[in-house]
Symmetry: C2
Subunit: 299 residues, 2 copies
Amino acid sequence: MAFPTHVRLVEVGPRDGLQNEPEPIGTATKLELIDRLGAAGISYIEAASFVSPKWVPQMADHREVMKNLARRDGITYAALTPNLKGLEAALECGVEEVAVFGAASEAFSQKNINCSVAESLARFEPVLERAKAAGVRVRGYVSTVLGCPYEGEIAPAKVAEVSKALYEMGCYEISLGDTIGTGTPLKAKRMIEAVSRDIPIAKLAAHFHDTYGQALANLYAVLEEGIAVVDSSVAGLGGCPYAKGASGNVASEDVVYLLNGLGIETGIDLDALADTGTWITQAISRPNRSKAGVALAAR
Amino acid sequence: MAFPTHVRLVEVGPRDGLQNEPEPIGTATKLELIDRLGAAGISYIEAASFVSPKWVPQMADHREVMKNLARRDGITYAALTPNLKGLEAALECGVEEVAVFGAASEAFSQKNINCSVAESLARFEPVLERAKAAGVRVRGYVSTVLGCPYEGEIAPAKVAEVSKALYEMGCYEISLGDTIGTGTPLKAKRMIEAVSRDIPIAKLAAHFHDTYGQALANLYAVLEEGIAVVDSSVAGLGGCPYAKGASGNVASEDVVYLLNGLGIETGIDLDALADTGTWITQAISRPNRSKAGVALAAR
């Protein structure tokens, strides 16, 4: 057991959290959300996704968002760029860091991005090369690391294999996603142990979903393993596209509350973060899925 | 680290979960809830509270509930009996086991049951004596073990002191309640360590609330300490009377999902439990606060 002394939160609310919202959300609302998150002390914000609006209409204003960010010192504003075209567009908008996403499940890769895992990795190579030439770091996501809606169980060795490929390709950090939230703590520990045989644990992030209410227990278990980067979404924005009405991303407020209790520094003002969660859920008429956020607002 | 191989769930939904519901819930609905919980494999159900209907009107039908239970073999149907009058009434109804409740916080004791902690303990003595004479076991609750809405932090030594008093008075099991859900895993571990210096860990139960989303992480942490009895409420029934709209009791479905993932036996059929959560929340028009329950119902 070796808890980190400091954890970096990667706030994915503006991208992962909003991308499946059916009603269009104004660019101004997105920009205010990003600004409030930065003001609350979040140091890394995934702000947009440079994908085709055909696939993700909610992210169609990615250029406007990236160009009009009120950038604050010390904050990384990143974007998802699944292909070269997306990357070029993101670079034009002055993006500082980008991300690509692969899957640990063949079936999920086929259904989600319409190609095999190997094909998806091959597609990322030119993205990694171009980003490197532009001096932009690339983060790698691996999805379905603790279960797949189509395949069920996923072997830790498969997660390790895909993670290693992305890391060796040049991704500086690998974010391990429990996309459907079916993981439990020992399974999460075993997966982290498998992946960290090839990649230093300081280069791994936990991206856990709370669909079955397990996210915080799983995070606690992998913090014990030394994980020091956690992806989360303010107010638990996002839901789960595989189970209607169910939860998706773990809520940032709940994660910060946990870390505060463990004496782990984050640099984040929990009250300001909770206020942001209250504000955005009211602005887009969504339930606040952060239990800590709801409790803090009700005090 | 020494996980138990088997955990006993104490289902508090019919009592703790329903007692603060403002609209009267029919006795037939309560009886059906208890019966469905038993059918799902729950072996211990807190079925009613023998308190004055002046204080808890929702539990006014405690006699009808206790008398008309469709008792199943191997299931303990218990009742809360804060005083001798309540105990006598419960005994008349054929109760098999009862519970008393104290607090680890002086301020909470004063505001909640209008007497000091010492006075509350003194009041329980005749209850314990009478129960012993009747051959009925008594469970002891200690509330506010990880924080108090009035005092804030609670010293683990204070929790240990009150727990020890109840144990020495004859309570066969002490249920440690994080009444306002403010605990986090290391704090929970330290509290359990303090209490288990005086009381064997097999005689302790974790009664955690999910108000800040921490309950499952806290449970995981104390399972690591060897805790093998967990109190929970189907569908997370109950809410938090100290923060309107916030969560209260941890949901039984989420706990069972966690335990299943850890390979810890419970004897409970998770699907049947989740169906019960869906049914009762629809029957009383309440949100289902079990994330696993919602996800399972949405599959």
